[in-house]
């Protein structure tokens, strides 16, 4: 049927103004946007606002008093100490582990990667219990430690250990894919150009991963300060001595001291907000460099 398939003049189909063929009708778009916003407001924004509202319900004076009473100050101090030890420890470990995994081939590499991920897959309560079983009074090393006069469980060292365990993967997880993607060409180039291993590490490797590293440290810190489960098991809840901020919040709440509980909680919420702001600022300010280091 050659006559039927002959080419006719092209037909032009008018496109309604302001709407292309790729957009959905207005009511669909409105529904989706409103739905997403409602969800965000209900589950994320409302709780955040509630924390601050509850904290300031009796005015700023009560809020300030709750934050400056000795037990609260001790909890804040302890949280800072725990983070100050565990974050650098994990920073060091994360860099070393990702350096090994990304730049070298060795037996048991997959096992190491799996082990790094372990804290993510184990319930934090279990993580805490492991340390009680190891270092507690009736634990594995319990009697030895008692003879030595060292207390780990129900003391600051236990809190630090549990926090390190839980925040183990943050830096390494951030760096391993980045370093794997970058390969080791630049390191090899540096070595051929006469740099020592140390010079290569500081002048080539570290500058290439610095943003990823900062990012990992930020997340690690947020978790270290906010961790509850593992720390709760090893802490013993001694007021003013082994209570970190999240534990202090729980105690206050259980005592129906809502204003004080929410006041301390608001500090943690602020930490989260600051972390987010810094993270976003980093991405905005150094977005090009972040992209370049992954190119």
């Amino acid at each position: 049927m050659p006559a039927d398939t002959s080419i006719t003049a092209p037909v032009s189909i008018p496109v309604p103004p302001g709407r292309s063929a790729l957009t959905e009708p207005t009511w669909v778009r409105a529904l989706l946007i409103v739905g997403a916003l409602l969800f965000l407001a209900l589950f994320l924004l409302l709780p955040l606002v509630a924390v601050f509202a509850e904290a300031l319900r009796r005015g700023f004076g009560a809020y300030w008093l709750a934050l400056t009473e000795p037990d609260a100050v001790a909890a804040i101090k302890l949280t800072l100490i725990v983070a100050a030890v565990s974050v650098p420890a994990n920073l060091l470990f994360g860099v070393v582990a990702s350096w090994c995994v990304a730049k070298f081939d060795f037996r048991g590499k997959n096992l190491l990667i799996t082990l790094i991920d372990l804290p993510f897959s184990v319930s934090p309560v279990i993580s805490g219990l492991i340390y009680v079983l190891l270092f507690g009074m009736n634990g594995f090393f319990g009697s030895y430690l008692r003879d030595m006069g060292v207390q780990i469980i129900f003391a600051v060292p236990g809190l630090v250990l549990a926090t390190i365990f839980v925040t183990f993967p943050f830096v390494a997880r951030e760096l391993i894919p980045l370093m794997q993607e970058q390969g080791s060409d630049e390191e090899e180039a540096a070595l051929v150009l006469g740099a020592s291993g140390w010079q290569t590490f500081w002048r080539v490797t570290i500058p290439n991963i610095k943003w990823g590293l900062l990012y990992g440290v930020l997340l690690c810190n947020a978790r270290a300060m906010g961790e509850f489960g593992a720390v709760s098991v090893v802490s013993g809840h001694v007021r003013g001595e082994t209570n970190t901020m999240p534990l202090h919040v729980e105690i206050l709440y259980n005592e129906y001291n809502f204003v004080a509980a929410f006041a301390v909680a608001s500090l943690l919420a602020m930490l989260a907000l600051v972390t987010l702001v810094v993270k976003t600022a980093l991405e905005w300010r150094f977005g090009d460099e972040l992209a370049a280091s992954r190119h």
Partner: protein
């Protein structure tokens, strides 16, 4: 500086990358390591630089045993396939790196470093780009930065891994000429790896053809092209027609006697004959044994696909010659062969 490779062997698990390779690079020459991927050419280059250590054999750099030396002590310049420029440093800092990391006693002062880097950037024609980052440069510019960076440490040997591999055709040609000129000016002993035979033949003083971890042939570009030492070299260098044939009394017979090719050398019995497309003559003949299945004109040349009793052949001639022959696709024709190289099967 001369390089002497003797009996170098390298295995990766079960794969033999280099199988007892011997090679001498003469002082001041530009040598190409040519071969398909997996032939071991890059591994050999990396062993020369100290980035890989062989399982056996010896390496002399300027007469001195070099396998025990670290890369930094070998005084080699290395240009990586993907340049491996330091992405967080400017062009200037990239080129200056090799000077800045020297031990305190040997390190030139910052004014001296600046002078040397400026000089090198002039040499590679990148002076206006000193303050840029690698991501802001084109492929050809990055390549030249990599070269300047390698030359900054005043190496005795320059090693280049697929130096033009990642560039587009036009830039590649320009840069090739430029590198040849640069080599003629500074006469540094240079070895480059390539899988592109045209690049090797055009650029190098001598070409080393490698296959499966062994050296097939070493020679000037004309030698390896005109007198291939093995069937592999013949097939790898340029387009080629391959015939399974039987040689009897100096005549190679293809198929059922459809084609008879005069041969030289003492090959007898089953063999493989190779004919370059430009050595394959075509004449129109209405009762000829072959048929023209297609004609492709590429620039000044014409490529003619020929079907000879089920065998696909390729002939090449210039367009003027094609016009005088007056042949078209579908015509029958006769073919004659002036030159063939026969290897026993």
């Amino acid at each position: 500086m001369a390089i002497q490779v003797s009996g170098i062997t390298k295995r990766f698990n079960d794969f033999t990358a280099l199988d007892s390779v011997d090679l001498e690079v003469k002082s001041g020459e530009l040598l190409a390591l040519l071969g398909p991927s997996g032939s071991g050419k890059t591994t050999l280059l990396r062993i020369m630089a100290g980035l890989e250590s062989p399982d056996g054999g010896g390496l002399l750099l300027n007469g001195e045993e070099a396998l025990g030396l670290k890369p930094r002590d070998r005084q080699v310049g290395f240009v990586f396939q993907h340049y491996a420029l330091f992405r967080h440093m400017t062009v200037f800092d990239n080129v200056a790196f090799g000077l800045k990391v020297r031990p305190r006693g040997e390190r030139p002062g910052s004014a001296e470093i600046k002078r040397r880097v400026t000089e090198l950037l002039e040499l590679v024609q990148l002076s206006p780009f000193a303050g840029r980052y690698p991501a802001q440069l084109s492929g050809g510019q990055r390549q030249r930065v990599a070269l300047a960076r390698a030359l900054a440490i005043e190496p005795k040997v320059l090693l280049l891994d697929e130096p033009f591999g990642a560039l587009d055709a036009k830039v590649r040609k320009e840069l090739r000429r430029w590198l040849r000129k640069l080599h003629d000016d500074i006469h540094i002993t240079s070895v480059f790896v390539t899988h592109d035979q045209e690049e090797a033949l055009e650029l190098a003083d001598r070409v080393v053809v490698m296959n499966q971890g062994r050296i097939e042939q070493i020679g000037t570009p004309a030698e390896v092209y005109d007198h291939p030492a093995s069937a592999f070299v013949y097939e790898f260098l340029g387009q080629v027609n391959r015939f399974d044939c039987t040689v009897e009394g100096g005549i190679a017979r293809v198929g059922d006697g459809a084609l008879a090719i005069p041969t030289q050398g003492g090959v007898q019995g089953p063999a493989v004959a190779y004919v370059r497309p430009h050595d394959l003559g075509v004449t129109p003949a209405s009762a000829g044994p072959a048929r023209i299945s297609g004609i492709h004109v590429v620039g000044p040349d014409a490529r003619i696909d020929i079907d000879l009793a089920g065998l696909s052949l390729e002939a090449e001639m210039d367009r003027e010659r094609l016009a005088t022959l007056g042949i078209a696709a579908g015509d029958r024709c006769a073919i004659h062969i002036d030159r063939a190289r026969v290897f026993a099967r």
